[in-house]
Amino acid sequence: MATFVVRRLIASIFIFIAATYLMYILVALSGDPLEDLRTSSAPNKQQLIEARTALLNLDVPPPLRYFIWLGGIFGLTGKGFGYLGVTVQNQPVNVLLGQAMGSTLQLVTLATVVAIILGIVVGITTALRQYSGYDYGVTFLSFLFFSLPIFWVAVLLKQYLAIGFNDFLRDPAIPWWLIVILALISGVIWMSIIPRKGIQRLYTFLIAAVATAALLVYMELTDWFSNPHIGIVGIVLSAAGVAFGVTAISTGLRQRRALRASIIVAAIGIAMYYPFMLFISYYLTFWTWVGLGVLAVAVSFAIGWFTGGADKAPVARTAAITGFLVAALISLDRFMSVWNAYANSSRIKGRPIATIGSSTPGLEGSLWVMGVDFFTHLLLPTIALILISFASYTRYSRASLLEVMNQDYIRTARAKGLTERTVVVRHAFRNALIPIATIVAFDIGGIVGGAVITERVFGWTGMGALFQNGLDHVDPNPVMAFFLVVGGLAILFNLIADLVYAGLDPRIRVS
């Protein structure tokens, strides 16, 4: 194992150095870094050209200049280890890299997490409903999204989700025909997801359609889009739903202790609703809010642990998940409660969904207002990123689960009379995750560098901008900083993926 890792690392380092050399030469030869000065009619043109030449060592040919840059990395220039040089604008690349990394991580972390969770959930469910309308629908959509160019998706999202939705908010009335269409669509979706035969399919369709229509009419009547809320009734209903749903998947509803613990946790959450909304939430900062969330999970876990009897661990797990989700729901309602004030503030002027940037300039407010601001800015780029990575996750997890479901041990599990839940969740799902884990590892390595276009289109100046500005100015230093981080992560996570695979799948040995 150790020799494998060491051997891989040594080989990687040499490949990486060769790659940086190639990259540096390519960037340096991609154009003329003095082009803008050469066409300038400034009287001190010659001095400006000399100044830039001295700043970036343009008098040294690129193949040799690379070694100057490499020397900087290894601290041979007295600037300390890891010195990345300056840009054509005389800004230290190290500082820029730090800022760019922060900005990019903010943008892509949430998108990646959501894409992974959503992709796996949808992939698993399509595998379980193979060849249903739902399966075909998801297959069609995921390939459609996969083949869309992101700059185009981004423009469409901005046009309809931001500009269109903001226009809609000016007078948020849903026309009746749209309600009918949405209700019918919802009916078809639910009908294809829920496995029923004959007349029962019709019932599913009707229930889903009527429920959707009722919800939309309720939203319309209460002016929900101007003043969104879940409310105590909504919280009670959804907390109950969470308690039953989580228990059903986590342990099965026959595990009465788990169900009881979940219901207790949900009830405590509901009891905390008014104190939180009216009092506690006004005194929170970001970190105390996170702390409160951790506390909620810990308390839920403890409740499960002490009421769990013989099955402490699964019951505590179920209760903790329920606690987390109920706490999240209540926080969501709190965020919604400031929506109206946010949208109508003088900085937003009634157009809350943003198309560019990461925050509204000059906006100041409570944790909740800033949270909503973060959400309105992150919404579109996150959706754009999810849409393109969604396809690969759904396809991989679907294929992986289908393969596992055909294994002999699944047949054995069914034959010995286990419930379908136990077969799917405990025997199939866990094994299906093994190949997906390696893909996730790759993707995490790729997220930092993978959003160049998304960043540009949504005005997030991060790693992508560092890369692109460097290329535009034929300035290798920022491009190399980008390449070092992205390339380094790719190599590292490739290695991690291999090790994870070996760790998860006992049939594979690395040596």
Partner: protein
């Protein structure tokens, strides 16, 4: 009851008197709490736009609003003096003596007076007269990093302003005299320089430089230290001052030390989030003529042109000036916004190599003339520029900026109309007269620029009809090839104009051996004219000389100008008014103080 009424009346009168007395002083007609957002395509990165690397529009647009200056270009374009900041007068032409005086009551945003110390420092930096002589910074520049090494001598004065000792303030080698009231300085040029008006740009706060460079606490002491250092040529102090001037004003987010963003203009920087936006707020200490009308202006950095258009549509910004592309023009046309077409300072042109060309054909004036006749200038504008800007026109002057004084008159008489239309027959006749068949013309242009590649194709097709064999000498490194003997026959590129100063344009470009003379053009008559232009102080006489230069260039078959780069500005007329972009930098920002919010209920 009666007493109360009387008191009310008295209060009303008193309030009225207060209001009236308030009107007497120049008062900002600011709309309280008003804010506007404008998009720019590059992040701000240095508060000192005078360094060799800080001189970029992204910086100068901001400092234009925050640092007062003696003059600026308006939208005509012509030079406007801002006498509320200060005045300057030409004391004598030979020797050239200029006296600059700061107006009374002009203050930095920390309340310190703007005075001769600021001007003196600006002179020291832009003239580099006090720089350690013969000092070669590159000896102490780390070849690996481009920064100065630790053994950089501490007593070396080096202002990184890229000043040239033969032009501009570089010619003021003696320390200017400071008046007793410390309000004005008098500079004496070593030799006459006609663009003297443009040389002393907006000064930076000298006391902030001294405080940070020399570790002084008190503002007045800091100013005195500047006088001492410059007047006594104190190398040690100047070394620290120059070093801070070079690098102290570079930051990528709001500096902790807000002294670094002190303002003397209508606005001041109050917030700067890395790579996102700069917020400008009306400067409460500003008392000049250009009082702002909007309290807060946010400049957001949006690189992608279409993203800027959609941000405008979504109300996140109210004013944009994205790169003009066909997509942008189309997207803007569909919106309920006001779009203004305009020009940028850069113009596209073709130069013919008079000597040292690849094929040598263009040494013959007949072939030059023939080639100029077949360049489809109108077709290029129609096909490549009109989709971006409907009213685009061919530029017909080598010297004058369209719209500037002298352009129309010069175009009428410079002979450029002979090349308005493609004249295949005329070109064939000229080639026959020259006795050449199928001359090869190799064109140098940027291979990474699709528009230039398209222009090349249009020229190639048109020229082929007259028998020219136009070949492709393009290169990604074309800029480095300009002026290389034997590399090409004709070059297609753009010259940028940043001012109307006459010394920037004709003298370096058309004088024999000039720094921008890349096509080996040489005409004794032209040399005389450019020399005369460099000594002519009268603006009208300057224009007369430039008209002659323009005519000689066309008569000598120098080459052709094609078009001025199109610029597009769009704004939400329901949110902002008084937008009037200028061709010269700072383009849309030139009248930032006139921008006015439109109240929402006016819709």
């Amino acid at each position: 009851m009666r007493i109360r009424r009387f008191a009310a009346a008295a209060a009303t009168v008193a309030a009225g008197a207060l209001v009236l007395s308030g009107c007497a002083a120049p008062q900002s007609e600011i709309v309280e709490g008003s804010s506007l957002s404008v998009a720019w395509n590059q992040p701000f990165y240095s508060y000192n736009g005078n360094t060799s690397f800080g001189n970029a529009t992204a910086n100068n647009n901001i400092t234009y609003a925050t640092l007062g200056g003696f003059n600026y270009y308006n939208d005509v374009p012509e030079l406007v003096k801002d006498t509320s900041f200060g005045t300057y007068e030409l004391v004598s032409e030979d020797p050239l003596v200029v006296k600059y005086t700061i107006a009374d009551g002009v203050k930095w945003s920390d309340g310190t007076a703007v005075d001769a110390a600021d001007l003196l420092l600006q002179w020291a930096a832009l003239s580099r007269a006090l720089d350690t002589p013969d000092f070669d910074a590159s000896e102490f520049t780390d070849p690996d990093t481009g920064e100065f090494t630790d053994d950089f001598p501490t007593d070396v004065v080096y202002f990184d302003s890229g000043a040239d000792p033969s032009v501009g303030l570089g010619l003021v080698s003696t320390t200017p005299e400071v008046s007793d009231d410390k309000k004005s300085i008098t500079m004496t040029y070593d030799e006459p320089f006609v663009d003297w008006e443009l040389q002393l740009t907006s000064p930076l706060p000298a006391h902030v430089v001294a405080k940070n460079a020399l570790g002084i606490e008190d503002n007045q002491e800091a100013k005195d230290a500047i006088y001492d250092a410059i007047e006594n040529d104190d190398a040690e102090a100047l070394a620290a001052i120059s070093s801070f001037w070079n690098s102290g004003f570079n930051f990528t987010e709001m500096p902790d030390n807000t002294d670094l963003v002190l303002a003397s203009g209508p606005y001041m920087i109050t917030d700067f989030v890395a790579d996102q936006y700069v917020t400008l707020t009306a400067n409460p200490e500003y008392t000049g003529d250009n009082l702002p009308k909007v309290e807060e202006i946010t400049v957001r950095f949006i690189t992608d042109p279409l993203a800027a258009v959609q941000a405008l549509q979504n109300g996140e910004v109210q004013l944009i000036s994205p790169q003009a592309t066909a997509d942008v023009a189309e997207a803007l046309a569909a919106l309920d916004v006001t779009v203004i077409g305009g020009y940028e300072g850069t113009y596209e042109h073709i130069d013919l190599q008079f000597d040292q060309s690849k094929s040598g054909h263009f040494n013959n004036p007949l072939i030059r003339e023939a080639f100029m006749k077949v360049i489809p200038r109108q077709e290029i504008v129609d096909k490549l520029i009109k989709p971006l800007q409907e009213d685009a026109e061919v530029r017909n002057s080598q010297v004058f900026l369209p719209g500037a004084e002298g352009y129309d008159e010069s175009v009428a008489e410079n002979g450029s109309e002979a090349y308005a239309e493609v004249d295949i027959e005329g070109a064939k006749a000229l080639l026959a007269e020259a006795g050449v068949t199928n001359p090869e013309v190799c064109m140098l242009f940027s291979s990474t620029n699709p528009r230039r590649a398209n222009e090349f194709l249009l020229i190639q097709q048109s020229a082929a009809q007259a028998g020219f064999n136009v070949t492709d000498c393009s290169s990604p490194d074309w800029g480095g090839l300009l002026g290389t003997p034997g590399a090409y026959d004709a070059s297609l590129f753009g010259w940028q104009s940043t001012s109307l100063g006459v010394t920037n344009g004709p003298p370096p470009t058309y004088t024999t051996g000039g720094i921008n003379n890349l096509n080996f053009y040489s005409n004794p008559e032209m040399d005389e004219l450019t020399a005369a232009l460099g000594k002519e102080f009268d603006p009208d006489a300057q224009i007369e000389i430039m008209k002659q230069i323009d005519k000689i260039l066309w008569d000598d078959f120098y080459g052709v100008t094609i078009f001025q780069f199109p610029a597009v500005t769009a704004y939400d007329q329901n949110a902002i008014t008084n937008i009037s972009p200028s061709t010269l930098a700072p383009t849309i920002f030139w009248n930032i103080w006139d921008w006015e919010p439109v109240s929402a209920d006016a819709e």
